[in-house]
Protein backbone atom coordinates (compact mmCIF):
# COMPACT_ATOMS: atom_id res chain seq x y z
CA UNK A 1 0.00 0.00 0.00
CA UNK A 2 2.77 2.41 0.86
CA UNK A 3 5.06 2.36 -2.14
CA UNK A 4 3.85 -0.13 -4.73
CA UNK A 5 6.54 0.83 -7.24
CA UNK A 6 9.44 -0.32 -5.10
CA UNK A 7 7.60 -3.39 -3.96
CA UNK A 8 6.67 -4.43 -7.49
CA UNK A 9 10.31 -4.20 -8.44
CA UNK A 10 11.19 -6.27 -5.42
CA UNK A 11 9.14 -9.22 -6.47
CA UNK A 12 11.55 -9.89 -9.34
CA UNK A 13 13.95 -12.04 -7.41
CA UNK A 14 13.92 -13.61 -4.00
CA UNK A 15 17.39 -12.34 -3.22
CA UNK A 16 16.64 -8.86 -4.42
CA UNK A 17 13.57 -8.94 -2.23
CA UNK A 18 15.25 -7.62 0.85
CA UNK A 19 17.32 -4.76 -0.56
CA UNK A 20 14.62 -2.32 -1.75
CA UNK A 21 12.80 -2.69 1.56
CA UNK A 22 15.86 -1.36 3.32
CA UNK A 23 15.24 1.99 1.68
CA UNK A 24 13.22 4.80 3.24
CA UNK A 25 11.24 3.38 6.13
CA UNK A 26 7.67 3.93 7.21
CA UNK A 27 4.64 4.87 5.21
CA UNK A 28 4.72 7.60 2.63
CA UNK A 29 3.69 10.90 4.23
CA UNK A 30 0.02 11.44 3.64
CA UNK A 31 -2.06 14.55 3.39
CA UNK A 32 -3.70 15.27 6.72
CA UNK A 33 -7.23 15.41 5.30
CA UNK A 34 -7.31 12.30 3.16
CA UNK A 35 -10.58 10.38 3.00
CA UNK A 36 -9.02 7.61 5.00
CA UNK A 37 -8.03 9.94 7.81
CA UNK A 38 -11.43 11.60 7.97
CA UNK A 39 -13.08 8.22 8.27
CA UNK A 40 -10.52 6.92 10.76
CA UNK A 41 -10.44 9.85 13.14
CA UNK A 42 -14.13 10.58 12.65
CA UNK A 43 -15.07 7.09 13.80
CA UNK A 44 -12.65 7.17 16.71
CA UNK A 45 -13.86 10.55 17.90
CA UNK A 46 -17.53 9.54 17.69
CA UNK A 47 -16.85 6.36 19.65
CA UNK A 48 -14.72 8.26 22.16
CA UNK A 49 -17.58 10.73 22.70
CA UNK A 50 -19.95 7.83 23.31
CA UNK A 51 -17.61 6.51 25.96
CA UNK A 52 -17.22 9.91 27.57
CA UNK A 53 -20.90 10.92 27.62
CA UNK A 54 -21.86 8.95 30.75
CA UNK A 55 -19.01 10.51 32.72
CA UNK A 56 -20.02 13.95 31.46
CA UNK A 57 -23.68 13.37 32.36
CA UNK A 58 -22.70 12.20 35.84
CA UNK A 59 -20.58 15.27 36.51
CA UNK A 60 -23.09 17.72 35.04
CA UNK A 61 -26.01 16.22 36.95
CA UNK A 62 -24.13 16.27 40.22
CA UNK A 63 -23.54 20.02 39.88
CA UNK A 64 -27.17 20.99 39.27
CA UNK A 65 -29.93 21.72 41.75
CA UNK A 66 -33.04 19.53 41.70
CA UNK A 67 -35.33 22.20 40.13
CA UNK A 68 -32.93 22.56 37.25
CA UNK A 69 -32.80 18.81 36.74
CA UNK A 70 -36.60 18.59 36.57
CA UNK A 71 -36.73 21.30 33.91
CA UNK A 72 -33.73 20.81 31.69
CA UNK A 73 -32.23 17.86 29.87
CA UNK A 74 -29.51 15.70 31.35
CA UNK A 75 -26.93 16.71 28.76
CA UNK A 76 -27.20 20.45 29.33
CA UNK A 77 -24.40 22.01 31.36
CA UNK A 78 -25.49 23.44 34.72
CA UNK A 79 -26.77 27.01 34.68
CA UNK A 80 -26.07 27.45 38.34
CA UNK A 81 -23.24 25.36 39.67
CA UNK A 82 -23.82 24.02 43.17
CA UNK A 83 -21.64 21.74 45.23
CA UNK A 84 -24.36 21.01 47.72
CA UNK A 85 -25.16 17.55 46.24
CA UNK A 86 -21.54 16.54 46.79
CA UNK A 87 -21.57 17.69 50.38
CA UNK A 88 -24.85 15.92 50.99
CA UNK A 89 -23.71 12.70 49.30
CA UNK A 90 -20.56 12.63 51.37
CA UNK A 91 -21.90 13.72 54.75
CA UNK A 92 -25.67 13.42 55.19
CA UNK A 93 -27.23 11.03 52.64
CA UNK A 94 -29.28 8.30 54.33
CA UNK A 95 -29.10 4.53 54.10
CA UNK A 96 -31.73 3.02 56.33
CA UNK A 97 -31.29 4.59 59.73
CA UNK A 98 -27.77 5.92 59.25
CA UNK A 99 -27.64 9.42 57.91
CA UNK A 100 -23.92 10.08 57.84
CA UNK A 101 -23.55 9.83 54.08
CA UNK A 102 -21.10 7.92 51.95
CA UNK A 103 -18.17 8.88 54.15
CA UNK A 104 -18.90 5.84 56.30
CA UNK A 105 -18.76 3.54 53.26
CA UNK A 106 -15.64 5.26 52.03
CA UNK A 107 -13.75 4.65 55.26
CA UNK A 108 -15.07 1.09 55.44
CA UNK A 109 -13.79 0.50 51.92
CA UNK A 110 -10.41 1.94 52.88
CA UNK A 111 -10.27 -0.28 55.94
CA UNK A 112 -11.16 -3.27 53.77
CA UNK A 113 -9.02 -2.49 50.73
CA UNK A 114 -5.71 -1.57 52.36
CA UNK A 115 -5.22 -4.72 54.48
CA UNK A 116 -6.73 -6.93 51.75
CA UNK A 117 -4.29 -5.62 49.16
CA UNK A 118 -1.29 -6.04 51.47
CA UNK A 119 -2.32 -9.43 52.79
CA UNK A 120 -3.33 -10.96 49.45
CA UNK A 121 -0.18 -9.77 47.70
CA UNK A 122 2.10 -10.90 50.52
CA UNK A 123 0.60 -14.38 50.45
CA UNK A 124 0.48 -14.67 46.68
CA UNK A 125 4.01 -13.37 46.04
CA UNK A 126 5.57 -15.84 48.47
CA UNK A 127 3.41 -18.53 46.93
CA UNK A 128 4.45 -17.68 43.41
CA UNK A 129 8.08 -17.60 44.52
CA UNK A 130 7.81 -21.04 46.11
CA UNK A 131 6.14 -22.40 42.98
CA UNK A 132 8.74 -20.94 40.64
CA UNK A 133 11.94 -21.65 42.55
CA UNK A 134 11.29 -24.19 45.28
CA UNK A 135 9.09 -26.73 43.60
CA UNK A 136 8.07 -29.52 45.89
CA UNK A 137 6.15 -32.62 45.10
CA UNK A 138 2.47 -31.95 44.63
CA UNK A 139 2.92 -28.19 44.28
CA UNK A 140 1.74 -28.24 40.69
CA UNK A 141 -1.38 -30.17 41.63
CA UNK A 142 -2.44 -27.51 44.11
CA UNK A 143 -1.58 -24.80 41.62
CA UNK A 144 -3.71 -26.45 38.95
CA UNK A 145 -6.65 -26.64 41.35
CA UNK A 146 -6.11 -22.98 42.12
CA UNK A 147 -6.16 -21.94 38.46
CA UNK A 148 -9.15 -24.11 37.63
CA UNK A 149 -10.80 -22.63 40.72
CA UNK A 150 -10.49 -19.18 39.21
CA UNK A 151 -13.15 -20.16 36.70
CA UNK A 152 -15.62 -21.52 39.23
CA UNK A 153 -18.48 -19.04 39.75
CA UNK A 154 -18.19 -17.39 43.17
CA UNK A 155 -21.77 -18.39 43.89
CA UNK A 156 -20.68 -22.01 44.20
CA UNK A 157 -18.23 -21.23 47.00
CA UNK A 158 -19.85 -18.42 48.95
CA UNK A 159 -21.87 -20.56 51.32
CA UNK A 160 -19.09 -22.98 52.30
CA UNK A 161 -16.98 -19.91 53.04
CA UNK A 162 -19.76 -18.51 55.22
CA UNK A 163 -19.59 -21.75 57.22
CA UNK A 164 -15.77 -21.72 57.40
CA UNK A 165 -15.74 -18.11 58.59
CA UNK A 166 -18.45 -18.81 61.13
CA UNK A 167 -16.41 -21.73 62.46
CA UNK A 168 -13.37 -19.55 63.06
CA UNK A 169 -15.53 -16.69 64.37
CA UNK A 170 -14.77 -14.20 61.61
CA UNK A 171 -18.12 -14.12 59.79
CA UNK A 172 -19.35 -10.56 59.48
CA UNK A 173 -16.03 -9.01 60.49
CA UNK A 174 -13.55 -7.01 58.51
CA UNK A 175 -10.95 -9.75 58.78
CA UNK A 176 -13.38 -12.27 57.36
CA UNK A 177 -13.79 -10.15 54.26
CA UNK A 178 -10.03 -9.62 54.01
CA UNK A 179 -9.53 -13.38 53.99
CA UNK A 180 -12.21 -13.77 51.32
CA UNK A 181 -10.52 -11.19 49.10
CA UNK A 182 -7.17 -12.89 49.60
CA UNK A 183 -8.66 -16.25 48.67
CA UNK A 184 -10.25 -15.04 45.46
CA UNK A 185 -7.29 -12.89 44.50
CA UNK A 186 -4.94 -15.81 44.97
CA UNK A 187 -5.24 -17.59 41.59
CA UNK A 188 -4.48 -14.61 39.40
CA UNK A 189 -1.86 -13.10 41.70
CA UNK A 190 -0.06 -16.37 42.24
CA UNK A 191 0.02 -16.88 38.48
CA UNK A 192 1.35 -13.38 38.00
CA UNK A 193 4.17 -13.81 40.51
CA UNK A 194 4.98 -17.38 39.54
CA UNK A 195 5.43 -16.36 35.91
CA UNK A 196 7.56 -13.40 36.88
CA UNK A 197 9.85 -15.32 39.23
CA UNK A 198 10.15 -18.15 36.71
CA UNK A 199 11.55 -15.64 34.21
CA UNK A 200 14.33 -14.57 36.58
CA UNK A 201 17.61 -16.20 35.46
CA UNK A 202 18.17 -19.38 37.40
CA UNK A 203 21.90 -18.65 37.82
CA UNK A 204 21.03 -15.82 40.14
CA UNK A 205 19.02 -18.11 42.34
CA UNK A 206 21.68 -20.84 42.26
CA UNK A 207 24.45 -18.38 43.13
CA UNK A 208 22.50 -17.26 46.15
CA UNK A 209 21.95 -20.87 47.14
CA UNK A 210 25.66 -21.59 46.88
CA UNK A 211 26.33 -18.60 49.10
CA UNK A 212 24.14 -20.22 51.70
CA UNK A 213 21.04 -18.07 51.47
CA UNK A 214 17.82 -19.80 52.40
CA UNK A 215 14.21 -19.54 51.29
CA UNK A 216 13.28 -16.28 53.03
CA UNK A 217 16.66 -14.59 52.58
CA UNK A 218 16.59 -15.09 48.81
CA UNK A 219 13.01 -13.87 48.74
CA UNK A 220 13.62 -10.67 50.68
CA UNK A 221 17.11 -9.78 49.47
CA UNK A 222 17.06 -10.85 45.82
CA UNK A 223 13.59 -11.55 44.52
CA UNK A 224 11.53 -8.86 46.23
CA UNK A 225 13.61 -5.86 45.05
CA UNK A 226 13.68 -7.23 41.51
CA UNK A 227 9.96 -7.80 41.38
CA UNK A 228 8.93 -4.25 42.30
CA UNK A 229 7.25 -3.51 38.93
CA UNK A 230 5.17 -6.66 39.20
CA UNK A 231 4.22 -5.68 42.74
CA UNK A 232 2.94 -2.37 41.40
CA UNK A 233 0.88 -4.23 38.77
CA UNK A 234 -0.53 -6.49 41.47
CA UNK A 235 -1.37 -3.54 43.70
CA UNK A 236 -3.25 -1.80 40.89
CA UNK A 237 -5.12 -4.99 40.07
CA UNK A 238 -6.11 -5.53 43.68
CA UNK A 239 -7.03 -1.97 44.60
CA UNK A 240 -9.46 -1.65 41.70
CA UNK A 241 -10.78 -5.18 42.09
CA UNK A 242 -11.40 -4.98 45.84
CA UNK A 243 -12.70 -1.42 45.82
CA UNK A 244 -15.19 -2.32 43.08
CA UNK A 245 -16.35 -5.52 44.74
CA UNK A 246 -20.03 -5.71 45.60
CA UNK A 247 -20.92 -9.38 46.04
CA UNK A 248 -18.47 -10.21 48.84
CA UNK A 249 -19.16 -6.94 50.60
CA UNK A 250 -22.86 -7.59 50.72
CA UNK A 251 -22.43 -11.18 51.91
CA UNK A 252 -19.58 -11.01 54.39
CA UNK A 253 -20.10 -7.67 56.11
CA UNK A 254 -22.85 -6.16 58.23
CA UNK A 255 -24.68 -2.90 57.46
CA UNK A 256 -22.32 -1.00 59.74
CA UNK A 257 -19.26 -2.19 57.85
CA UNK A 258 -20.67 -2.21 54.31
CA UNK A 259 -18.10 -1.13 51.70
CA UNK A 260 -18.75 1.92 49.58
CA UNK A 261 -20.25 0.11 46.58
CA UNK A 262 -22.90 -1.59 48.71
CA UNK A 263 -23.74 1.61 50.53
CA UNK A 264 -23.94 3.51 47.25
CA UNK A 265 -26.42 0.99 45.89
CA UNK A 266 -28.50 1.28 49.05
CA UNK A 267 -28.53 5.08 48.90
CA UNK A 268 -29.52 5.28 45.25
CA UNK A 269 -31.94 2.38 45.08
CA UNK A 270 -33.68 2.99 48.41
CA UNK A 271 -37.38 3.38 47.80
CA UNK A 272 -38.32 5.79 50.55
CA UNK A 273 -38.26 9.54 50.08
CA UNK A 274 -37.93 11.78 47.06
CA UNK A 275 -35.25 10.78 44.60
CA UNK A 276 -32.42 13.28 44.57
CA UNK A 277 -30.70 12.55 41.31
CA UNK A 278 -27.96 15.12 41.80
CA UNK A 279 -27.00 13.60 45.16
CA UNK A 280 -27.12 10.12 43.64
CA UNK A 281 -24.79 11.10 40.82
CA UNK A 282 -22.38 12.84 43.20
CA UNK A 283 -22.33 9.67 45.30
CA UNK A 284 -21.76 7.55 42.20
CA UNK A 285 -18.80 9.66 41.10
CA UNK A 286 -17.36 9.60 44.62
CA UNK A 287 -17.47 5.79 44.60
CA UNK A 288 -15.88 5.57 41.18
CA UNK A 289 -13.23 8.12 42.00
CA UNK A 290 -10.65 5.88 43.66
CA UNK A 291 -10.35 3.33 40.83
CA UNK A 292 -10.50 6.15 38.28
CA UNK A 293 -7.59 7.93 39.93
CA UNK A 294 -5.66 4.67 40.10
CA UNK A 295 -6.42 4.16 36.41
CA UNK A 296 -5.38 7.60 35.23
CA UNK A 297 -2.26 7.72 37.39
CA UNK A 298 -1.04 4.24 36.59
CA UNK A 299 -1.62 4.41 32.84
CA UNK A 300 0.16 1.59 31.07
CA UNK A 301 0.67 -0.42 34.24
CA UNK A 302 -3.10 -0.73 34.58
CA UNK A 303 -3.26 -2.25 31.12
CA UNK A 304 -0.49 -4.60 32.11
CA UNK A 305 -2.41 -5.52 35.20
CA UNK A 306 -5.58 -6.45 33.39
CA UNK A 307 -3.64 -8.13 30.61
CA UNK A 308 -1.99 -10.21 33.32
CA UNK A 309 -5.43 -11.42 34.16
CA UNK A 310 -5.86 -12.46 30.59
CA UNK A 311 -2.53 -13.93 29.58
CA UNK A 312 -2.24 -17.49 30.71
CA UNK A 313 0.86 -19.10 32.17
Amino acid sequence: MSNPGTLAAAVVGADAFRAPLEGPRGARPRRALSRRNIFLYGTLIVVALYYLVPLYVMIVTSLKGMPEIRLGNIFAPPVEITFEPWVKAWATACTGLNCDGLSRGFWNSVRITVPSVIFSIAVASVNGYALANWRFKGADTFFTILIVGAFIPYQVMIYPIVILLREIGLYGTLWGLIIVHSIFGMPILTLLFRNYFASVPEELFKAARVDGAGFWRIYFVIMLPMALPIFVVAIILQITGIWNDFLFGVIYTKPDTYPMTVQLNNIVNSVQGVKEYNVNMAATILTGLVPLIVYFVSGKLFVRGIAAGAVKG
Partner: protein, 299 residues
Amino acid sequence: MSISGNEVRRPSRLFRNLSAKIASIPMILTALFVFLGGTLWTVLYSFTNSKLLPRLKFVGLDQYERLWSAPRWLTSIENLLVYGVLSLIFSLVIGFLLAALLDQKIRFEGVFRTIFLYPFALSFVVTGLTWQWILNPDFGVQRLVRNAGWESFTFNPLYDQRIVIYGILIAGLWQGTGLVMCLMLAGLRGIDEDIWKAARVDGIPMWKTYMFIVIPMMRPVFITTLVIIASGIVRLYDLVVAQTSGGPGGASEVPAKYVYDYMFLAQNLGQGFAASTMMLVTVAIVVVPWAYLEFGRRR
Protein backbone atom coordinates in the same frame (compact mmCIF):
# COMPACT_ATOMS: atom_id res chain seq x y z
CA MET B 1 23.74 -44.39 39.59
CA SER B 2 23.81 -40.82 40.68
CA ILE B 3 20.05 -40.58 41.08
CA SER B 4 19.82 -43.31 43.68
CA GLY B 5 22.87 -41.83 45.40
CA ASN B 6 21.00 -38.59 45.89
CA GLU B 7 18.03 -40.47 47.15
CA VAL B 8 20.02 -41.97 50.01
CA ARG B 9 21.44 -38.67 51.18
CA ARG B 10 18.07 -36.98 51.54
CA PRO B 11 17.10 -36.77 55.20
CA SER B 12 13.35 -36.97 54.92
CA ARG B 13 10.97 -36.32 52.09
CA LEU B 14 8.53 -34.42 54.22
CA PHE B 15 11.02 -31.92 55.60
CA ARG B 16 12.79 -31.31 52.35
CA ASN B 17 12.00 -27.82 51.14
CA LEU B 18 10.20 -27.16 54.39
CA SER B 19 10.09 -23.36 54.11
CA ALA B 20 8.54 -23.58 50.67
CA LYS B 21 5.92 -25.94 52.00
CA ILE B 22 5.12 -23.68 54.93
CA ALA B 23 4.92 -20.70 52.57
CA SER B 24 2.50 -22.63 50.38
CA ILE B 25 0.12 -23.50 53.20
CA PRO B 26 -2.34 -20.70 52.31
CA MET B 27 -2.43 -21.89 48.71
CA ILE B 28 -2.84 -25.51 49.72
CA LEU B 29 -5.63 -24.68 52.15
CA THR B 30 -7.39 -22.50 49.59
CA ALA B 31 -7.08 -25.07 46.84
CA LEU B 32 -8.23 -27.99 48.98
CA PHE B 33 -10.79 -26.51 51.34
CA VAL B 34 -12.29 -23.62 49.40
CA PHE B 35 -12.00 -24.37 45.70
CA LEU B 36 -12.17 -28.15 45.75
CA GLY B 37 -13.91 -28.76 49.07
CA GLY B 38 -16.31 -25.85 48.78
CA THR B 39 -17.39 -26.86 45.30
CA LEU B 40 -17.93 -30.50 46.23
CA TRP B 41 -19.77 -29.40 49.37
CA THR B 42 -22.18 -27.20 47.42
CA VAL B 43 -22.80 -29.88 44.81
CA LEU B 44 -23.42 -32.46 47.55
CA TYR B 45 -25.84 -30.25 49.46
CA SER B 46 -27.72 -29.38 46.29
CA PHE B 47 -29.21 -32.87 46.59
CA THR B 48 -30.61 -32.15 50.06
CA ASN B 49 -33.68 -30.28 51.22
CA SER B 50 -31.71 -27.74 53.29
CA LYS B 51 -33.81 -24.73 54.18
CA LEU B 52 -32.53 -22.28 56.78
CA LEU B 53 -29.51 -24.40 57.67
CA PRO B 54 -27.63 -26.93 55.59
CA ARG B 55 -28.59 -30.47 56.58
CA LEU B 56 -27.81 -33.77 54.98
CA LYS B 57 -31.27 -35.08 54.21
CA PHE B 58 -31.09 -36.26 50.65
CA VAL B 59 -34.02 -35.76 48.35
CA GLY B 60 -32.43 -36.76 45.08
CA LEU B 61 -33.05 -34.41 42.21
CA ASP B 62 -36.01 -32.64 43.84
CA GLN B 63 -34.24 -29.28 44.04
CA TYR B 64 -33.32 -29.43 40.38
CA GLU B 65 -36.87 -30.34 39.36
CA ARG B 66 -38.18 -27.42 41.39
CA LEU B 67 -35.50 -25.17 39.90
CA TRP B 68 -36.29 -25.97 36.32
CA SER B 69 -40.00 -25.53 36.85
CA ALA B 70 -39.58 -22.15 38.55
CA PRO B 71 -40.59 -19.35 36.14
CA ARG B 72 -38.07 -17.04 37.77
CA TRP B 73 -35.19 -19.42 37.05
CA LEU B 74 -36.31 -19.89 33.46
CA THR B 75 -36.42 -16.12 33.00
CA SER B 76 -32.95 -15.90 34.53
CA ILE B 77 -31.55 -18.48 32.14
CA GLU B 78 -33.23 -16.86 29.16
CA ASN B 79 -31.84 -13.46 30.16
CA LEU B 80 -28.38 -14.86 30.65
CA LEU B 81 -28.51 -16.50 27.21
CA VAL B 82 -29.65 -13.32 25.47
CA TYR B 83 -27.21 -11.16 27.37
CA GLY B 84 -24.40 -13.69 26.99
CA VAL B 85 -24.69 -14.29 23.26
CA LEU B 86 -25.18 -10.63 22.37
CA SER B 87 -22.51 -9.46 24.75
CA LEU B 88 -20.03 -11.98 23.34
CA ILE B 89 -20.74 -11.02 19.74
CA PHE B 90 -20.84 -7.28 20.26
CA SER B 91 -17.86 -7.01 22.55
CA LEU B 92 -15.73 -9.18 20.27
CA VAL B 93 -16.76 -7.28 17.12
CA ILE B 94 -16.60 -3.79 18.63
CA GLY B 95 -13.44 -4.60 20.57
CA PHE B 96 -11.73 -5.92 17.46
CA LEU B 97 -12.85 -3.03 15.26
CA LEU B 98 -11.63 -0.47 17.79
CA ALA B 99 -8.32 -2.28 18.09
CA ALA B 100 -7.97 -2.41 14.30
CA LEU B 101 -8.68 1.32 14.07
CA LEU B 102 -6.16 2.07 16.79
CA ASP B 103 -3.59 -0.10 15.04
CA GLN B 104 -3.46 2.18 11.96
CA LYS B 105 -0.48 4.12 13.32
CA ILE B 106 -2.72 6.98 14.35
CA ARG B 107 -1.94 10.02 16.42
CA PHE B 108 -3.13 10.29 20.01
CA GLU B 109 -3.46 6.52 20.24
CA GLY B 110 -2.81 6.72 23.99
CA VAL B 111 -5.62 9.24 24.48
CA PHE B 112 -8.15 7.12 22.60
CA ARG B 113 -7.09 3.97 24.40
CA THR B 114 -7.40 5.70 27.75
CA ILE B 115 -10.92 6.86 26.89
CA PHE B 116 -12.07 3.44 25.66
CA LEU B 117 -10.72 1.66 28.69
CA TYR B 118 -11.67 3.94 31.57
CA PRO B 119 -15.16 2.45 32.09
CA PHE B 120 -13.46 -0.85 32.84
CA ALA B 121 -11.91 0.72 35.94
CA LEU B 122 -15.39 1.51 37.25
CA SER B 123 -17.39 -1.01 39.22
CA PHE B 124 -20.56 -2.59 37.89
CA VAL B 125 -22.50 -0.77 40.58
CA VAL B 126 -21.28 2.61 39.35
CA THR B 127 -21.87 1.56 35.73
CA GLY B 128 -25.38 0.34 36.48
CA LEU B 129 -26.39 3.47 38.37
CA THR B 130 -24.99 5.75 35.69
CA TRP B 131 -26.93 4.06 32.94
CA GLN B 132 -30.00 3.86 35.10
CA TRP B 133 -29.88 7.64 35.12
CA ILE B 134 -29.15 8.05 31.40
CA LEU B 135 -31.97 5.65 30.48
CA ASN B 136 -34.37 7.25 32.95
CA PRO B 137 -37.59 7.78 30.94
CA ASP B 138 -38.49 11.09 32.57
CA PHE B 139 -35.10 12.78 32.36
CA GLY B 140 -32.82 10.78 30.11
CA VAL B 141 -32.49 9.94 26.43
CA GLN B 142 -36.23 9.45 25.87
CA ARG B 143 -37.12 12.88 27.15
CA LEU B 144 -34.27 14.46 25.22
CA VAL B 145 -35.56 13.11 21.90
CA ARG B 146 -39.17 14.00 22.78
CA ASN B 147 -38.15 17.54 23.64
CA ALA B 148 -36.42 17.78 20.31
CA GLY B 149 -39.78 17.36 18.61
CA TRP B 150 -40.32 13.63 18.17
CA GLU B 151 -43.19 13.38 20.67
CA SER B 152 -44.01 9.70 20.26
CA PHE B 153 -40.42 8.50 20.62
CA THR B 154 -40.23 5.62 23.08
CA PHE B 155 -36.98 4.25 24.38
CA ASN B 156 -37.58 3.05 27.86
CA PRO B 157 -35.67 -0.19 28.33
CA LEU B 158 -35.46 -0.16 32.12
CA TYR B 159 -39.23 -0.09 32.62
CA ASP B 160 -40.21 -2.33 29.74
CA GLN B 161 -40.21 -6.05 30.54
CA ARG B 162 -39.58 -7.10 26.96
CA ILE B 163 -36.40 -5.11 26.39
CA VAL B 164 -35.00 -4.55 29.86
CA ILE B 165 -32.14 -6.98 29.25
CA TYR B 166 -30.96 -4.83 26.34
CA GLY B 167 -30.79 -1.85 28.65
CA ILE B 168 -28.44 -3.85 30.83
CA LEU B 169 -26.53 -4.98 27.75
CA ILE B 170 -25.86 -1.36 26.75
CA ALA B 171 -24.32 -0.67 30.14
CA GLY B 172 -22.38 -3.95 30.17
CA LEU B 173 -20.90 -3.26 26.74
CA TRP B 174 -19.94 0.27 27.70
CA GLN B 175 -18.06 -1.10 30.68
CA GLY B 176 -16.43 -4.14 29.10
CA THR B 177 -15.50 -3.48 25.45
CA GLY B 178 -12.40 -1.53 26.45
CA LEU B 179 -10.88 -4.65 27.90
CA VAL B 180 -11.58 -6.64 24.73
CA MET B 181 -10.07 -3.83 22.68
CA CYS B 182 -6.94 -3.96 24.81
CA LEU B 183 -6.55 -7.71 24.45
CA MET B 184 -7.18 -7.51 20.69
CA LEU B 185 -4.72 -4.67 20.30
CA ALA B 186 -2.07 -6.74 22.06
CA GLY B 187 -2.91 -9.57 19.66
CA LEU B 188 -2.65 -7.31 16.61
CA ARG B 189 0.69 -5.96 17.78
CA GLY B 190 1.93 -9.50 18.08
CA ILE B 191 1.43 -10.08 14.35
CA ASP B 192 4.60 -9.90 12.35
CA GLU B 193 5.01 -6.75 10.26
CA ASP B 194 6.22 -8.97 7.39
CA ILE B 195 2.78 -10.54 7.07
CA TRP B 196 1.36 -7.13 6.27
CA LYS B 197 4.16 -6.44 3.83
CA ALA B 198 3.60 -9.74 2.07
CA ALA B 199 -0.13 -9.08 1.83
CA ARG B 200 0.59 -5.69 0.30
CA VAL B 201 2.95 -7.20 -2.21
CA ASP B 202 0.23 -9.58 -3.29
CA GLY B 203 -2.17 -6.67 -3.56
CA ILE B 204 -4.67 -8.07 -1.09
CA PRO B 205 -7.10 -5.43 0.16
CA MET B 206 -6.83 -4.55 3.81
CA TRP B 207 -10.19 -5.96 4.93
CA LYS B 208 -9.35 -9.27 3.25
CA THR B 209 -6.01 -9.37 5.01
CA TYR B 210 -7.82 -8.93 8.31
CA MET B 211 -10.50 -11.47 7.52
CA PHE B 212 -8.44 -14.27 6.07
CA ILE B 213 -4.93 -13.79 7.45
CA VAL B 214 -4.84 -11.72 10.62
CA ILE B 215 -7.96 -13.01 12.37
CA PRO B 216 -7.10 -16.68 11.83
CA MET B 217 -3.62 -15.93 13.15
CA MET B 218 -5.14 -14.37 16.24
CA ARG B 219 -7.12 -17.48 17.09
CA PRO B 220 -5.48 -17.95 20.52
CA VAL B 221 -6.20 -14.33 21.46
CA PHE B 222 -9.82 -14.69 20.40
CA ILE B 223 -10.26 -17.89 22.34
CA THR B 224 -8.67 -16.49 25.50
CA THR B 225 -10.82 -13.37 25.24
CA LEU B 226 -13.89 -15.51 24.66
CA VAL B 227 -13.23 -17.53 27.79
CA ILE B 228 -12.61 -14.39 29.85
CA ILE B 229 -15.81 -12.70 28.66
CA ALA B 230 -17.83 -15.89 29.04
CA SER B 231 -16.74 -16.58 32.60
CA GLY B 232 -17.51 -12.95 33.42
CA ILE B 233 -20.98 -13.15 31.88
CA VAL B 234 -22.00 -16.08 34.05
CA ARG B 235 -21.16 -13.98 37.11
CA LEU B 236 -23.37 -11.10 35.97
CA TYR B 237 -24.87 -9.82 39.19
CA ASP B 238 -23.90 -6.36 40.49
CA LEU B 239 -24.85 -4.66 37.24
CA VAL B 240 -28.40 -6.02 37.37
CA VAL B 241 -28.77 -5.31 41.09
CA ALA B 242 -27.67 -1.70 40.62
CA GLN B 243 -29.44 -0.95 37.36
CA THR B 244 -32.82 -2.62 37.76
CA SER B 245 -32.80 -4.71 40.97
CA GLY B 246 -34.10 -7.52 38.78
CA GLY B 247 -37.15 -5.54 37.72
CA PRO B 248 -39.50 -4.57 36.27
CA GLY B 249 -41.53 -7.43 37.64
CA GLY B 250 -38.56 -9.78 37.70
CA ALA B 251 -37.95 -9.41 33.97
CA SER B 252 -34.21 -8.86 34.32
CA GLU B 253 -33.42 -11.61 36.83
CA VAL B 254 -30.15 -13.49 36.34
CA PRO B 255 -28.91 -16.80 37.79
CA ALA B 256 -26.36 -15.23 40.14
CA LYS B 257 -29.12 -13.12 41.68
CA TYR B 258 -31.34 -16.19 42.01
CA VAL B 259 -28.57 -17.90 43.97
CA TYR B 260 -28.01 -14.95 46.29
CA ASP B 261 -31.71 -14.35 46.93
CA TYR B 262 -32.44 -17.98 47.74
CA MET B 263 -29.37 -18.44 49.94
CA PHE B 264 -29.45 -15.23 51.94
CA LEU B 265 -32.94 -13.76 51.64
CA ALA B 266 -35.42 -16.59 51.07
CA GLN B 267 -33.68 -19.00 53.49
CA ASN B 268 -33.99 -21.77 50.93
CA LEU B 269 -30.43 -23.04 50.78
CA GLY B 270 -31.18 -26.15 48.74
CA GLN B 271 -32.52 -24.08 45.85
CA GLY B 272 -29.51 -21.78 46.05
CA PHE B 273 -27.12 -24.73 45.95
CA ALA B 274 -28.92 -26.32 43.02
CA ALA B 275 -28.90 -23.03 41.11
CA SER B 276 -25.21 -22.41 41.80
CA THR B 277 -24.40 -25.96 40.72
CA MET B 278 -26.15 -25.23 37.43
CA MET B 279 -23.96 -22.13 37.08
CA LEU B 280 -20.92 -24.33 37.63
CA VAL B 281 -22.14 -26.70 34.92
CA THR B 282 -22.57 -23.76 32.54
CA VAL B 283 -19.02 -22.61 33.12
CA ALA B 284 -17.71 -26.15 32.75
CA ILE B 285 -19.38 -26.42 29.35
CA VAL B 286 -17.43 -23.36 28.23
CA VAL B 287 -14.13 -23.90 29.99
CA VAL B 288 -13.51 -27.65 29.83
CA PRO B 289 -13.33 -27.89 26.00
CA TRP B 290 -11.11 -24.82 25.95
CA ALA B 291 -8.79 -26.14 28.65
CA TYR B 292 -8.66 -29.49 26.87
CA LEU B 293 -7.71 -27.91 23.55
CA GLU B 294 -5.34 -25.43 25.11
CA PHE B 295 -3.49 -27.52 27.65
CA GLY B 296 -4.52 -31.10 26.96
CA ARG B 297 -2.63 -31.38 23.71
CA ARG B 298 0.65 -30.24 25.15
CA ARG B 299 0.90 -33.14 27.56
